[in-house]
Structures are given as structure tokens and as C-alpha cells.
């Protein structure tokens, strides 16, 4: 099933694009989406320990399941204000 992945700031620079559409198997979690992304872009893999996630613009845990068409965002450490 297709999902949309959003990445920001330095993580976007590492991935080379702000938005990707990828296929994941039904029953996948946010963690599964990240692992696939990190396999595709190994330079991004070390971010895992400092990363947060969102699904459809709401904060999510890595154990959160994803559904077809979801927008899954990965957030590097923030620096607003």
C-alpha cells in the first residue's frame, strides 16, 4: 500500500527530497517505514535515536500502525523559537 513520507531540515538534505511516496506492506508501523527509509538512505540511519515521528500531522510513536495513504513524517531534533 502506498504511503507518503515527509522529512525535514538536515534529514531532508540527507534524503535529498522533502517528500517520498513508498510502498509498505499492510500492518506496517512507523518503525517499519523508518527502517525501509534508512535502508534506502543509509546516511539517515544514525538519526534513529534522536528522531520523532508524526502520522497525518499528529505526533505518533514508532509503534503506531500506518494505513494506506497516510502521511508519515520524521522529525530531526527541533530548534524553533
Amino acid at each position: 500500500m502506498p504511503i507518503t513520507i515527509l522529512v525535514f531540515a538536515k534529514l531532508r538534505d540527507l534524503v535529498g527530497s522533502p517528500q517520498l511516496v513508498r510502498e509498505v506492506v499492510a500492518g506496517s508501523t512507523v518503525e517499519d517505514v523508518w527502517q525501509a527509509l534508512a535502508s534506502e538512505f543509509p546516511a539517515a540511519a544514525p538519526y534513529r535515536t534522536a528522531l520523532s515521528a508524526a502520522v497525518n500531522a499528529g505526533y505518533a510513536k514508532f509503534s503506531t500502525p500506518v494505513a494506506e495513504g497516510d502521511e508519515v513524517a520524521f522529525l530531526p531534533p527541533v530548534s524553533g523559537g
Binding site: 528522531l51 508524526a54 530531526p76 527541533v78 530548534s79 523559537g81
Partner: protein, 166 residues
């Protein structure tokens, strides 16, 4: 219809922030002078950071989640300081030295709660809001990375509260 000068209570903008508009928004719906105090925080872009001369900052946000984050934070402030009303306006895009990157107004019946809530909100924005700054400095540029955004982290929330109240 909103008056032309009105802005949302929680907002993100690529334009210069009108501090007075944020203050007015916090005071909206206060009703017959219920808010005796408004505390304002203005975060300005410094011309120096880590010993380097800063030329400008470039902010980016995951806007729908950032607006959700501001809402979560304002609700937390409302739970902690009943009667407090929070307005937040954050810049994105290029922000020049000396310009405001964020303005927070906390309106409250009394000053103690207004000051505390205002401090709490900026601490929480820095902890969880999905906003990033890229620093353009003399000799290079770099993403600035602070806290791992985790709204479920109760220790971080407590730390923000303690900073607000000390």
C-alpha cells in the same frame, strides 16, 4: 468576519510579526477587562552564535503539526494556569538579524500567572514544536538541532514548568 488586522490565535507566517497584533489576539474574548496582565516574549535573531557572526536564520516548519503543537502547549498552559489565554506567532523563511522569530503573548487575570505561562510556552515550543533553523554565518551554514521532540515526555514538561516558576 474577522477584522482585516486580525491574525489566528496560533499561527505561522513568512512575514514580519506585528507584536501588538499578537497581544491583541491574546486579549480577545477576554471580556470586560478580565485580563489584568499580558506577558509577552519576543525571540529575536542574534547576530552572534557560538563565536561566529550570524548573517541570517532560515526557519522551516512542518506547519500543520507545528500548529497542533502550539495548541497542545496552550492547552497545557491552560490546565496549569486556569484563565490564561495564549497567542503564538512563529516566523518561517528568512529572518534577518534583530527581527523577531517568535512572539508569545500570555494574557491572565494577574501578572504572576501571565509571566509563568509565557515562559512555559517558549520552553515547550523549544522542546516539541516541529520547527528548525538553519544558521547562515560568516564562513558557512548549518542546521541547528536542539531537543528531540517528544510531547509524551512528562519529565520534559515538568522541566519546562520548573523553569517557568523559578
Amino acid at each position: 468576519m474577522l477584522p482585516e488586522t486580525s491574525i489566528p490565535l496560533l499561527s505561522i507566517t513568512a512575514d514580519a510579526v506585528d507584536v501588538q497584533a499578537v497581544v491583541r489576539r491574546a486579549e480577545d474574548e477576554a471580556g470586560a477587562g478580565r485580563h489584568g496582565a499580558v506577558a509577552v516574549f519576543i525571540g529575536n535573531v542574534r547576530g552572534e552564535n557560538l563565536g561566529r557572526r550570524v548573517i541570517e536564520l532560515q526557519y522551516e516548519a512542518y506547519e500543520p503539526l507545528a500548529l497542533n503543537a502550539f495548541g497542545i502547549i496552550a492547552a497545557e498552559a491552560g490546565e496549569t494556569w486556569p484563565g490564561v489565554r495564549i497567542a503564538v506567532r512563529h516566523r518561517v523563511g528568512r529572518v534577518a538579524i534583530g527581527e523577531a522569530s517568535i512572539v508569545i503573548a500570555a494574557a491572565s487575570p494577574h501578572r504572576a500567572e501571565a509571566f509563568q505561562a509565557c515562559r512555559y510556552v517558549i520552553e515547550r515550543v523549544k522542546q516539541i514544536a516541529p520547527v528548525w533553523k538553519r544558521e547562515i554565518f560568516d564562513g558557512g551554514e548549518a542546521w541547528i538541532e536542539g531537543a528531540t521532540a517528544d510531547p509524551f515526555d512528562t519529565a520534559a514538561r515538568r522541566a519546562a514548568y520548573e523553569r517557568a516558576c523559578r
